[in-house]
């Protein structure tokens, strides 16, 4: 019971101070704004996907009705792919404003299409979004510093320090409850709007608990750091502002200097092929195929699709199967480069995760966006889903084209749907 009475004493003492209540209510308002703007952003993304699905379906139906062979059907019909925001995405927009989350593809070479982005307004991305993860990773330490840096020194400056020390049974009964009350009040102001928002968006209890745990762990880290730092003998004689300056520099090091320099290091460590080269290679391959003898295309195509070796006879005019075969060959030629490019992205992400261990704010941000599935890995997974779906389209069309099947809308209604290829 002693612990409880210590805490309630400190709470009564602290909440009588007007400026503390002021700071806490500002933090509460910020958190409300971040949650609200995140919710409305994700709401609009979800409804965009819904609208797109509808438009995509109508568009494709009208296109398919006008076709008379599978080759043109594949050429003129587009297919929507999308990455639905998770229920937690409102809290951590993560990389969702840099990587695409919606894409329309068709059966041409995938390497020529996959890098097209329907990205957000670059100026808004440059300014950065104000989401809950930003609040919890970058700003939270500043709030903790603001609230706790003078935990001891304010008493000293008010002349009460020695009195408090001598009357307290043990020092830790004095400073820990105070730090505990302040940081839990802060965590409450931050997390309450998040929890409400999470219920509105329908996030699972486990996810909510995970995010709360990350935020609280981050807040505990800074609280302990400050309590420890202010207890150092040589620091005891410093003024509140001197202590705060040192803590601010610590914040600067972990939120600005470490990420920035690790970015430079990661860039040096991982060599990635330039994206433009993939496109160039793919384009050369596809365009040259028109001038090459048919056998060259067929040889490369049959190497990966031997089952069609008896169906490569060419008629007197243009043949769609040959056209799609050299699209496939274009992808195969660019394959190595494209794989290296994807691997480089993954490798950079892996290194970034390791460097983030040095920086609690970065770690918080990464954990949150990985729970919210808005991180680079989620974006890469979406790209994999698109590739899998694109491949399924090919597997659907190839038999129809190579056997010169009669075009029928009934067959077309069996075309694979993207929703079957979404990795959960």
């Amino acid at each position: 019971m002693k612990v409880f009475s210590n805490i309630s004493r400190e709470a009564r003492f602290l909440f009588r101070q007007k400026h503390l209540l002021g700071i806490l209510s500002v933090i509460l308002l910020l958190s409300i704004f971040s949650v609200w703007s995140g919710l409305s952003e994700m709401e609009s993304q979800s409804s965009t996907i819904e609208r797109l699905q509808e438009k995509d379906r109508i568009d494709r139906e009208s296109v398919l009705a006008k076709q008379s062979d599978y080759g043109s059907a594949a050429y003129y019909s587009f297919h929507l792919t999308y990455s639905e925001p998770s229920k937690l995405a409102f809290a951590a927009i993560g990389q969702r404003d840099v990587y695409p989350w919606k894409h329309r593809i068709r059966m041409l070479a995938i390497e020529g299409q996959i890098y097209e982005t329907d990205a957000d307004n670059p100026e808004l991305s440059f300014l950065g979004r104000f989401d809950f993860a930003f609040l919890a990773s970058v700003l939270l330490p500043l709030f903790v510093i603001l609230l706790l840096h003078d935990i001891r020194s304010s008493e000293r400056e008010a002349g009460r320090y020695d009195l408090l020390i001598t009357t307290a049974v043990k020092q830790k009964y004095l400073w820990f409850p105070r730090a505990f009350v302040l940081s839990s009040a802060l965590a409450l102001a931050l997390l309450a709007p998040f929890i409400v928002g999470a219920f509105i968006s329908g996030a699972s209890l486990v996810d909510i608990v995970l995010i709360c745990a990350v935020v609280m762990a981050h807040s505990v880290f800074w609280t302990l750091l400050i309590v420890w730092y202010t207890s150092i003998k040589s620091v005891a004689s410093q003024s509140s502002t001197q202590i705060a300056s040192v803590l601010l520099s610590a914040w600067l090091v972990v939120t600005v200097l470490l990420p920035v320099s690790s970015d430079v290091v990661i860039d040096k460590l991982v060599s990635s092929p330039s994206g433009g080269d993939i496109l160039l290679l793919q384009r050369e391959a596809v365009n040259d195929a028109w001038d090459l003898p048919d056998e060259v295309t067929w040889r490369a195509f049959l190497a990966t699709h031997p089952q069609w070796k008896d169906h490569i006879d060419m008629g007197p005019t243009f043949e769609w199967k040959w056209y799609y075969a050299f699209q496939q060959v274009g992808d195969q030629k660019a394959g190595t480069l494209s794989q290296a490019y994807q691997n480089a992205t993954l490798e950079k992400d892996g290194l970034a995760k390791r460097f983030a261990l040095l920086s609690p704010p970065m770690l918080t941000q990464q954990l949150m966006s990985s729970f919210a599935k808005t991180d680079t890995l989620a974006a890469m997974q979406y790209e994999q889903d698109i590739r899998a779906y694109h491949n399924a389209l090919r597997q659907f069309y190839y038999p129809l084209m190579f056997t010169r099947a009669e075009y029928s809308l009934a067959t077309m209604s069996e075309i694979p749907e993207f929703s079957q290829y979404i990795t959960k």
């Binding site: 400026h19 700071i23 910020l30 704004f33 703007s37 409305s40 609009s44 609208r51 438009k55 995509d56 990389q95 840099v98 990587y99 919606k102 097209e116 982005t117 329907d118 990205a119 957000d120 307004n121 670059p122 100026e123 808004l124 440059f126 300014l127 950065g128 104000f130 989401d131 970058v138 700003l139 003024s239 509140s240 502002t241 001197q242 705060a244 600067l252 939120t255 990420p259 920035v260 320099s261 690790s262 970015d263 990661i266 860039d267 990635s272 994206g275 433009g276 496109l279 160039l280 384009r283 365009n287 028109w290 001038d291 005019t317 243009f318 992205t345 950079k348 970034a352 983030a356 991180d375």
Partner: protein
């Protein structure tokens, strides 16, 4: 005036003695120097690389063998945006927009491969650009150096002594102010050096000097804020807490709230969604690959009347080329209309975010700096427009060759006799050279005026605030 400079010198001497201020100044200056050097190297590399890629892409196009002209329309061409000289300090939206576009017939592709997409994701909050340091961190350094400049005198009781000794309050405040400004300017030196460097690489002096002037104004504003808060606070700790709070709000929160608000107030449809409307409109135009499409019936009739013939193969020109040219023109008009609409949407979002410059000097200096450096959204849009113009020109020139040079009968027989349905590679010379240059100095200066006004507005607030502070102390 000597009283003022005496106070300034005393303040500097105090900072030298206390070490903390010296350390902060040293770190701040060192950081800006490092970032300026790193960024200069990076931008120089990018310029060289993109320039090189541009030339490689052009020569590759020219080196293509004899072909059917429409094949070259689909072969396409790449253009690259070279960064402006001042982007060594203010890269602006450069890292967030793609810097290359693939140009081909019948389509307007978006810019691809933005740096951020290839980055490690560590630089979403901060970046090692001089502009981030100067706009966000230097104010913090000025705060750390100067939060106690007046409160210190109050706490030690020296302020009252000075007043009773007849020191003019204005002299005192201006003296302290100049000391703060000087420390801010010291951290600005790398920017000045880099601007001079940009001037030698072809940036007009008028621009670089207004660039520097903008940042000096920003330093003046923040030094003023620090001075005012310190003068109005009773204790150093209160001054410190207020200033750090202000810094969080003005430098970090408000700019981001601006961008979040803009996305909510003016939601944009996104390219994918507006493309449905584009496709809808395009389908009405007919397929330019198919000269028999009923959409080109009128065109055919007009040509028959003009040349007095009644069969397509009697025309002295290749009708398929004419159709390609005709439909490309119609299609481009539609595409441009939608592209313009989209750029307008983006611009109005950006405008909303930039209005937050009235609420924080950080957004004001950021917009100003992007405008002057020529790394703003507007410049990127101009790149898109110029790329589109180049696309349209080379596609139409190829279609012209298709119409005038390639025999219609050979063209119709192309599936059987591929060799005769080609034109000489010398025709590929129609591709004009692409070199993207930054906006003209007048455009950049006039674009920056609204944000200069925002900065001046903040300057006025600071002047007003200092007057209030003087009155506050003398009471």
């Amino acid at each position: 005036m000597s009283a003022v400079s005496q106070i300034t010198r005393d303040e500097w001497r105090f900072w030298r003695r206390t070490k903390t201020a010296t350390i902060i100044l040293f770190i701040g200056t060192l950081l800006t120097i490092i970032s300026a050097v790193v960024n200069t190297i990076k931008m120089e590399d990018a310029t060289h690389e993109r320039h090189h890629l541009q030339q490689a892409s052009e020569s590759r196009f020219l080196d293509q063998p004899d072909r059917h002209p429409h094949r070259m329309v689909h072969y396409g061409h790449y253009v690259f945006r070279t960064p402006s000289p001042l982007s060594i300090i203010e890269p602006g939206v450069d890292a967030f927009t793609g810097t290359s576009i693939f140009l081909e017939g019948h389509r307007q592709n978006s810019a691809m491969f933005s740096d951020q997409r290839q980055a490690s994701g560590m630089t979403r909050f901060s970046s090692l650009t001089p502009s981030f340091l100067l706009q966000v961190l230097v104010p913090l350094f000025v705060i750390l150096i100067g939060y106690a400049c007046i409160t210190r005198e109050k706490e030690a009781g020296t302020l009252n002594i000075m007043i009773t000794q007849g020191v003019n309050l204005w002299h005192l405040l201006v003296g302290k102010y100049l000391a703060l400004v000087a420390s801010g300017l010291l951290m600005l030196t790398p920017l000045i050096v880099a601007s001079v460097w940009a001037t030698t690489t072809g940036e007009p002096l008028m621009l670089t000097s207004s660039f520097i002037a903008g940042y000096v104004l920003y330093i003046l504003i923040w030094s003023g804020i620090v001075l005012i808060v310190s003068a109005l606070s009773k204790k150093s700790s209160a001054s410190f807490a207020t200033l750090v709070g202000l810094w969080i709000v003005l430098c970090i929160l408000v700019p981001r709230m601006g961008s979040s608000s803009a996305a909510i107030i003016a939601p944009s449809l996104g390219k994918l969604e507006s493309d449905f409307a584009v496709f809808e409109a395009l389908r009405k135009l007919g397929d330019g690959h198919n000269a028999a499409d009923p959409a080109f019936e009128q065109l055919k009739k007009n040509l028959f009347a003009k040349y007095g013939v009644d069969k397509v193969d009697e025309l002295p020109i290749n009708f398929r080329g004419t159709v390609a040219q005709y439909s490309e023109q119609k299609l481009t008009a539609v595409l441009n209309q939608f592209a313009e609409q989209r750029m307008q949407e983006e611009l109005s979002q950006a405008q909303i975010a930039r209005q937050f410059g009235w609420l924080t000097p950080t957004t004001a200096i950021r917009s100003f700096s992007m405008m002057i450096a020529g790394s703003s959204l507007e410049t990127h849009h101009r790149f898109l427009r110029e790329a589109e113009k180049l696309r349209f020109d080379f596609v139409q020139s190829l279609n012209q060759i298709h119409q005038d040079t390639l025999d219609y009968k050979a063209d119709m027989n192309r599936h059987n006799d591929d060799k005769s349905a080609r034109v000489s590679a010398s025709n590929w010379q129609v591709l004009s050279e692409f070199s993207f240059t930054t906006d003209t100095p007048t455009t950049r200066l006039s674009n920056s005026i609204p944000y200069l006004l925002q900065l001046l507005f903040w300057g006025l607030i600071v002047v007003f605030g200092i007057r209030v502070a003087v009155r506050g102390i003398s009471q």
